[in-house]
Symmetry: C2
Subunit: 182 residues, 2 copies
């Protein structure tokens, strides 16, 4: 299967929901992809192939949808999985990073002992829009002395130019949408 | 490895956090287990072995911590993964089930097309306490005509007697704690 074939199959499996959560936004629903076991395997394999030479020591998944591909990639690489969680969820000593959303700030947390100094970390999420959450995750990893090998996402909303915020890492997506209309 | 060996190794890997989220509660932190790849594989395999003869068609993971083992079990069984999510997160036509927490009600949602009539469904979560969330997930599956083959959890707080609410299914845990003090 070529990359273009995989992107086409993934686009067919991802559900397009106009006006969710608010009018004018098209939500990309990947729960329909999660239900397709064969396609999930192909997606995990494509992400693994892209990042295998970067030899991550740990996979960081962003709550909540990043936990699914994060856990699967951790298993594929044979390494540990660590979660970046929403504020107030993690129980142990942690770092916090806040980021701006349209009308409010939100934040992510990471246990301090999730990343050892020098760990090579692959960050995983389902979707990259403006990259605010990915950037927050990256800052926390760097605070703990980790080395970011890249960001793996399934869906990239390329018209929001999130990757311009993340120029120092390898950002890899399996599916890109060039407009809300697509 | 015997089951007792696995339980002991899991107990060693799960972090005990007294007084989180509130005084008197001991939080069982499984993020330290998630970071241990070899032990994760053993845990997934033990859950798979227990449920393999029940032949699930779909794995349902409960947000957010149930997504990790849910996704891994879906891959192990070679079937689809579907999420039960907190209120307001799922974008498509869905069912909702509310449940009582100590001082408030909370709820879970499930897409109507996540489960087909007659689907054999294995519900997965990280921890069973009073079983309120598992029961809510089970009710939604039954509303959609699914057949519940069981509930798989890593940790069971057996002193809260959650399994008494779920007598009609096979409830299987890898680790049981008999008191907060343990």
């Amino acid at each position: 299967m070529t990359d273009a074939d995989l992107e086409g199959r993934l686009k067919s499996a991802i559900r397009r929901i106009p006006d969710f959560p608010t009018k004018g936004i098209v939500f990309r629903d990947i729960t329909t992809l999660w239900k397709d076991n064969a396609l999930m395997r192909s997606a995990v394999e494509a992400l693994y192939e892209h990042f295998k030479d970067s030899k991550p020591h740990v996979i960081l998944g962003i709550e909540a949808r990043g936990f699914v591909f994060g856990a699967l990639l951790a298993q594929r690489f044979g390494v540990g999985f660590v979660p970046a969680r929403k504020l107030g969820k993690l129980p142990f000593d942690k770092v916090t990073e806040r980021y701006q959303l349209e009308y409010r700030t939100d934040g992510l947390e990471l246990h301090r002992d999730a990343i050892d100094k020098g760990d090579r970390v692959l960050i995983v999420d389902d979707l990259m829009a403006t990259a605010g959450t990915a950037l927050a995750a990256a800052k926390m990893v760097e605070t703990l002395g980790g080395v970011i090998v890249g960001l793996a996402v399934i869906v990239e909303l390329s018209f929001l130019h999130g990757r311009e915020k993340l120029k120092s890492f390898d950002v890899f997506s399996l599916v890109a949408y060039n407009s809300e209309a697509e």
